[in-house]
Amino acid sequence: MKNWFSTLKTLIWKDLLQEWRSKDMLTAMLAFAILSIFIFNYAMELDPRQRAELAPGILWVVVTFSGTLGLNRSFVAEQEQGSFDALVMAVPGLGSIWLAKQVSNFLMMLVLIIIVLPVYSLLYNQNLLVPGLIFTLMLGAWSFSAAGTLLASMTAQTRMRDLLLPVLLFPILMPVNMAVVKAGAGIMTGAALATYQVWLSLLLVYGIIMTTISLMVFDYVILE
């Protein structure tokens, strides 16, 4: 077990270090996210009175769209350099490869959220740095990257790669989208916890189910 954890730690560290050195993924994700916030301003003509309710939805769209960009890249390095086979041979449990990717993708999403939240708050003059909203977004980000990491590991091996991931991912993510938007709107409008608690439970359940399934089937993604 201790061995397994140290493997996991090494793998996560490898991904983060790689990203830290190139910064490819994060810069693209952030630029895209902030541009989308600008686009939303002109597309929706956001009325200050509606903002409180709409903000979580807009924010979540921005986060998932730019997150998809990042997910597309998450297995590319291994694919291009052909280091995937070496990785499979070196690591004792194949599940840990998935979990490491999942955790690093999740951390990447967190960085994105941490930067996008204040930017949105600043541009729209509305404080989004609310603990409840951040917690909801974190739960959502875990579910998002759990489903996304599994699917990206498959699409990276297909001909259409980047084209395919959003088409596969978005129908699967529908419950997460609904839950994050509804719970977020509840938090931002100051509704009672009881009215949106069920959405938080749904997010939790989705995250657990997706993590379990991914761990169960990931062997079949990489085994030849």
Binding site: T155, P171, P175, M178, V221
Partner: protein, 238 residues
Amino acid sequence: MLSSNKSLGYLAVLAAVFILIAFGLVLFYAPVEQNMGMVQKVFYFHVAAAWLGMLGFVVAAVCAVLYLRIGKLGLDAVAASSVEIGLLFTAIANFTGMIWARPVWNTWWTWDPRLTTMTIMAFTYIAYFLLRRGIDDPVKKARFGSIYLIVGFVTVPLTFFSARLLRTIHPTIFGGANTGEMAMTAEMYFTMGFSICAFSLLFVVLLLARSRLKISEQLLTEREMLEQEEEFGEVSGG
């Protein structure tokens, strides 16, 4: 493994007869609904088609799990065929629903949980075919397809649950809530039951025929690949 040409032919004829009888029952036996009138008759095929849509996806998910366990490519052929048929009938259910909804709900489309869920389910399975198209290796195609089917099958009920939390105006026939319930006579129930049976028979026929075709395709690809390898071997050997 699957039935011979002849018995499949008999089964197809039987399904056709059943569907014709179902037509007759719908048109002449089932009474005209008081409030909605003739348009309600589409309901018998709508429910049957929606049932096949669900059935197709359940069968596909079961085959996907079995494929990952056993690894027989034939199972993948059955899964893919089942999704195709399920998708077709989901589309039919959606369209017949629209025909009914226009006069009754006064709109072609509404963001009702069942409508939304059925459509998202359809998108999930369209994506399944896109994924398959992107992979050349038949074994990898089967494996990835199966994984996606399992993931899709697990998330569809969650989508339904979350959409249901939002709102519903769709009539419930089976043990549902009181809102929007349709009062059905015994003749109506019988017609609906018969039409569901007839459609299920059609499903079996289509599934057998399609799976057989797909398995033949698989065998053909295998043979072609073997021949290519042999040719290549001769060239490089000589």
